[in-house]
């Protein structure tokens, strides 16, 4: 580390403050987001069923599946919807009506729902397996990344080999939803990622890569070893 010898420029020359999210992963925040009441969450979740499905699997591929959703992710997104840091005509008012404690309760409930209810149950992965060319493109990015362009592997933060606070598991997520969010991050329409990791990465990915990664996760391949086929339906 090198010392700073010259005085810093005055703070008056800073651009207008832009804050992506008011959530910071302090110990208090993590405790608040982690200690929800599962039973209360189950009752509250009745109002989420219409869009997010009976068991956390949405029928609309543009709406995210919530089954198995990481608690911190869910708590943060609801906070961001409430604060207007993430825009959604439906979720902004929903999050405003709920109390902060409700976020933790819902997170506790949805985080314990299984992502593989039944191998014969196609609700979890209704989307077809991607084309083989897309599988190769997606597997390379998800498992290895692209060092030449500075794209880290998706699984380093989204699991299973690595995890970052607030980064959701994508192993049971809808492909259209993932693709839409990647496009949103790339354009800056979605800008609630703390310290800009997803805006940076999505802007480096091509449209074809976004589609390939989304299709790979959407078909349920994200939790399987490289090259494995889709789960039996």
């Amino acid at each position: 580390m090198v010392s700073g010898t010259k005085p810093l420029p005055s703070a008056g020359s800073q651009p207008p403050l832009r804050v992506p999210s008011y959530v910071a992963w302090t110990e208090e925040t993590i405790a608040a987001a982690s200690n929800g009441d599962t039973v209360r969450g189950l009752v509250l979740a009745r109002r989420c069923i219409r869009c997010h499905g009976q068991e956390g699997f949405s029928n609309d591929p543009l709406v995210p599946d919530l089954a198995g959703m990481d608690k911190l992710t869910m708590w943060k997104q609801l906070n961001d919807f409430r604060a207007g840091k993430r825009k959604s005509a439906i979720m902004n008012p929903v999050a405003t009506v709920l109390q902060i404690q409700d976020y933790a309760d819902l997170a506790a409930y949805y985080s314990m729902l299984p992502t593989y209810p039944d191998p014969q149950d196609i609700r979890s992965f209704p989307q077809p397996a991607p084309a083989s060319t897309h599988i190769a493109v997606a597997a390379r990015l998800i498992f290895g990344g692209d060092g030449q362009r500075g794209i880290p592997p998706c699984q380093a933060c989204h699991g299973p080999i690595g995890h970052k606070n607030g980064a959701p598991s994508l192993v049971a997520q809808n492909s259209d939803y993932i693709r839409g969010e990647l496009e949103g991050f790339a354009k800056g329409d979605r800008a609630n990622d703390i310290d800009m990791p997803m805006r940076t990465i999505a802007s480096l990915m091509t449209d074809d890569e976004k589609q390939a990664v989304a299709a790979y996760y959407g078909a349920g391949l994200g939790s399987l070893p490289v090259g494995a086929s889709a789960p039996a339906k």
Binding site: K6, L8, A24, G150, I151, P152, P153, G162, L204
Partner: protein
Amino acid sequence: MRSGRLQFVGAILAFTLVWLCIRFPYEMFGLAEKALGNPSQVDPLTLHLHGEFVESNLGTAVEPDGSVTVRLIAQQFNFVPECVLVPTDKPIRFRITSADGVHRFTISGTDHVLEVVPGHVSEGQFEFSKPGQYKTPCHEFCGPGHYDMRSRVVVVSRDQFPSSKPEERLGCAAL
């Protein structure tokens, strides 16, 4: 034979004593901290909320006195912003901090290196004589995405470097 062994043991004891005499006050009175010479302390968990490393303040800043400052965040597993723009033949002040673990910001093809530690601001004055694109890989193993962690420093001649106001921040898109 015996005196030789005693001398050896004595030398080890003397060395240990001297080491403790130096090391204890060094740690106890924060001399290690002072030796780093860095008064800047930041909270890695709240960089995005306030202070110097909020996202709107990252990138290249041309200060009122004409000097150039680049501010970056290192995090698992990228540097933000991914591309910074600087002019040639001018000392550039790089200020960088970490949002999580230890990283090392290394500008390829030069000897410019900054060790990045959470909680501290690392600073270095670097100068580039040749225009071009320099990759900046992380050279401190920081986790499963470490080998893909790199960004770019784009160096342009001073004539090509766009002018900007003190409250503006430049990125590679300004070219």
